[in-house]
Symmetry: C2
Subunit: 213 residues, 2 copies
DNA sequence: TTAACAATGTGAAAATAATAACAAAAAAAC
DNA sequence: GTTTTTTTGTTATTATTTTCACATTGTTAA
């Protein structure tokens, strides 16, 4: 059987991206797509696409390319959890709200079912169908709603305690958007992303490009 | 001379992160730090830290570690642009606002000097000191204010045209937060980040971990 | 003084990821 | 019906990134 565990991390990321491109193609009524078409959309090479698809065991049709619908379904089988995964957003600031709007209804297997905040004005409200609870009730709500992934969008000063509370509540994965790295036990999958780093990276390469001339 | 061009991309990202950790140490009055301390904060190995510092030519003191202040300054010399870089945010939705709050006053060499939107209610306002202009005036403002980096936080449907307009205005780097990949000429540095991909990746590894048991 | 320790710095090796090269075969062109 | 073209699938190669292993050397402690 296909060993999902051994798929390169980068391949996982690209599969998610291929699927999104493919969903757009499907909407447009396109039934087949060539590796080089996917590649052009994603700014990568066609070989890379074919290799990724090879790794997941998908076979296209020579000279016709890949069946859009089939490939979407296969990627879903690979990366999605069969029973779906419930997600919570912790911190209903601008970033938390951006994420809720952004995700709402986008992926059926990933459902944002709760948000948390400490601001009493926000608690009890609903946004894009997602109810906001008090951070104090986090453990209770996470267990009741079977929430397995938490997205942290709290201020940096609350990062540590939020991560601890999530772990305490039995969370299985954390996506940390605060600029402060957090520690979790190894059975919790942690992905950190820091916007300042991305911006500084862009600025660095802009500088380098200018020096070059 | 040190060849900045040849620093691995990953090293650049980590340097930005080391600096942030170091700034916190500096605030706390810590004068020296060991490689394994930096490593623990960033969830990486001490060897990785030492290797990165070796690449930028920084030498610590045996058994005392690295001088926090010196290292912060050196990282600044490496990744910052001497004359500073002006940045614009295009799209004043939740994400755009989150970024403005997030960055404001954080890095002196990276200044967000303008934001753009199509909503007349937002145009003319100022947020965290950043004035909002009409998207129609983008080229003019970007040239006048010497903006070199643009952060795209517009809805996906506007991604393509926004990127084209930025390129047209002579931008040198783009950080694209829309879920739609864009095309730019090779002299413009492009960094794309997609929140759905990150969330799907977390969900995937959560699934894998659970299957394992 | 000298042995043990704890840290840095780095060449070599391993792991991971991307690219090149090309065989195979369906479709199109002649 | 044969040749050319186009596209997939895959092996081999190269490039990048991380880790290992260990020499080196201040510092501490016996």
């Amino acid at each position: 059987m296909l060993e999902l565990k051994n798929l390169p991390h980068k391949t996982i990321e690209r599969l998610s991206q291929y699927r999104r491109a493919l969903l757009i193609c499907l909407e447009k009524g396109q039934t087949h797509i060539y590796s080089h078409e996917i590649a052009r959309i994603q700014h990568i090479t066609a070989v890379q696409v074919r290799r990724d698809l090879m790794l997941i065991g998908y076979t296209g049709t020579l000279r016709k390319g890949y069946n859009v619908k089939e490939l979407i379904d296969l990627i879903g089988e690979i990366i999605d959890s069969q029973e779906g995964i419930n997600v919570a957003i912790i911190g209903m600031g601008n970033l938390g709200r951006a994420l809720i709007n952004y995700f709402s209804g986008k992926r059926s297997h990933l459902k944002i079912v709760a948000s948390f905040d400490i601001n009493p004005d926000k608690i009890g409200n609903t946004m894009s169908g997602v109810p906001c609870f008090s951070t104090e009730d986090m453990e209770k709500v996470i267990r009741e709603k079977n929430i397995r992934v938490g997205i942290m969008t709290v201020p940096a000063d609350f990062a540590t305690q939020t991560a601890e509370a999530l772990v305490q509540a039995g969370i299985r994965g954390i996506l940390n958007y605060t600029p402060k790295p957090v520690n979790v036990p190894k059975e919790v999958y942690l992905e950190e992303y820091d916007m300042i780093t991305s911006l500084e990276k862009v600025a660095f390469y802009v500088k380098i490009n200018e020096d070059k001339k």
